[in-house]
């Protein structure tokens, strides 16, 4: 298993096995609840409920696959998409790891660093939630205290500010077009704030367009 292509093929085989087994396991959970309690819900309830979320979240899910797979690499994608919390945790975690290790996304070194970062992140998340649930009676008051609320309300600004310093500073010429567009858009239509994920590919297309023009003109 020497070339990168051979390694990637192997990772895809391993990833598909885990992902599809995991998918079956996920479907087994509601099935087991229905069987154990003899509580099969009317199909109309499920369809009505899905109608409320599937159109937006299936779209977001598809967009996330197109956007994040190239960033996370093979192993990172299988793990990241199965363990979830991509935008607020796994993607920034992988980007930070690759940046700090001095490796580029889309390369073999980037791929392994991203995979290790996402796997560790998944393990730590699992541990934190498990410990939190087990110690809930002791820590609940502290975690839910109003004094701490502003900190948890501002995770995304606190996360994307530093990320902007790293990536916008390195590529400010490319960043200007999508940044100005997005800032203007969100100021004019604040209700879009809840669907920022849907706008990621719009930002990416603008950035790719700007990068192409600047590259052709020899400005980057």
């Amino acid at each position: 298993m020497d070339s990168y292509d051979v390694f990637r093929d192997y990772e895809h085989r391993v990833g598909r096995w885990w992902m599809l087994t995991g998918f079956a396991l996920l479907l087994a959970v509601p099935t087991a609840i229905c069987v154990r309690y003899d509580a099969w819900p009317p199909i109309t309830w499920v369809l009505k409920g899905l109608l409320g979320v599937a159109p937006i979240y299936w779209t977001v899910g598809t967009i996330e696959v197109l956007t994040y797979v190239p960033m996370l690499g093979t192993g990172g994608s299988y793990l990241g998409f199965f363990t979830g919390n991509l935008t607020s945790l796994k993607v920034p975690c992988a980007l930070n790891a690759m940046e700090a290790a001095g490796v580029e996304p889309g390369t073999e070194a980037g791929e392994v660093i991203s995979t290790i970062a996402i796997a560790v992140s998944a393990l730590v998340t699992t541990a934190v939630i498990a410990i939190g649930v087990l110690l809930l009676s002791q820590i609940r008051g502290f975690l839910e205290s109003p004094a701490l609320q502003p900190a948890f309300d501002n995770i995304l600004p606190a996360l994307f500010g530093p990320l902007a310093v790293v990536y916008v500073a390195k590529n400010w010429k490319i960043a200007m077009t999508p940044l100005v567009f997005m800032i203007t858009l969100f100021i004019c239509v604040p209700s879009l704030a809840s669907s920022a994920s849907v706008l990621v590919p719009v930002g990416a297309l603008l950035a790719i367009g700007a990068a192409r023009i600047l590259y052709k003109k020899g400005l980057v």
Binding site: W18, Y78, T83, I113, L156, V165, G203
Partner: protein
């Protein structure tokens, strides 16, 4: 009466959590071995792992808060399971609320009807499946496309990847400005973003000028934590001013 916190539900969670742990360990072993073959030092790999762990703790606590919030209606096991696999805070609550509504109820009290509970479990599961199907189906094709771009023109390939990141970062930076028309309170996310960005610059000074190389790995988690911590006095200050 159905109890969402019963032992059976905890057993289901345990099975899925064991699967997530096993999958993560399998990929760590795979990537670690390959990294060593590529000549990447164990020291760098360990630093990467520790940095990822530190970075994860606070966002994971916010996920725990999501579990606690949903537990009032769904008990602990189902939210725990959902937020450990595929799910995200931004998705699970609307999905549970939509499912409860379709069954003629809401999430204001503990769900003790097994039919309503299983409806919620189905909707939460099926509402977010595309990733688990699309990654195995199209992941390789997407990667091959990126490889082709890179192999044709290495510099453009690198710029293309940077543009993808900038697209994502722009969308979320723009989102921070979504509340500024609400008055001074609406500027709080912007202030937090600026403060955490300044902290990142300070870390960069330590790394570049004082040669604190170790800080390179921890600059982002430190800046994020600092930004979140400073969100508390910033919010208090803004509250005092308005």
């Amino acid at each position: 009466m159905f109890d969402p916190n019963n032992t059976f539900m905890y057993c289901l969670v345990a099975v899925v959590i064991v699967f997530v742990i096993a999958m993560s360990l399998r990929f760590i072993v795979l990537a670690w071995r390959r990294a060593r073959k590529l000549g990447i030092s164990s020291q760098l790999l360990r630093r990467t792992a520790v940095s990822a762990a530190v970075f994860t703790i606070v966002p994971a606590i916010s996920i725990l808060l999501g579990v606690i919030a949903l537990s009032k209606a769904l008990g602990f096991p189902l939210p725990w399971l959902r937020l450990s696999v595929i799910g995200a805070l931004t998705y699970e609550t609307p999905a549970a609320a939509a499912a409860a509504q379709s069954a003629g109820t809401d999430l204001s009290r503990l769900i003790t009807d097994p039919e309503i509970f299983s409806t919620i479990a189905w909707v939460m599961t099926l509402g977010i499946v595309p990733g688990t199907i699309l990654v195995p189906a199209f992941g390789k094709k997407i990667e091959n496309g990126i490889m082709r771009i890179r192999s044709k023109d290495e510099k453009w390939g690198s710029l293309f990847m940077s543009a993808l990141f900038l697209g994502m970062i722009s969308a979320f930076l723009g989102m921070v400005f979504g509340t500024i028309r609400e008055g001074l309170r609406g500027w709080i996310p912007f202030f937090v973003m600026v403060v955490s960005a300044i902290l990142m610059c300070v870390c960069a000074v330590f790394v570049k000028v004082l040669k604190w190389k170790w800080m390179e790995q921890y600059a982002l988690p430190l800046s994020m934590l600092g930004g979140m911590f400073l969100a508390i006095p910033i919010t208090n200050l803004v509250d005092a001013l308005v």
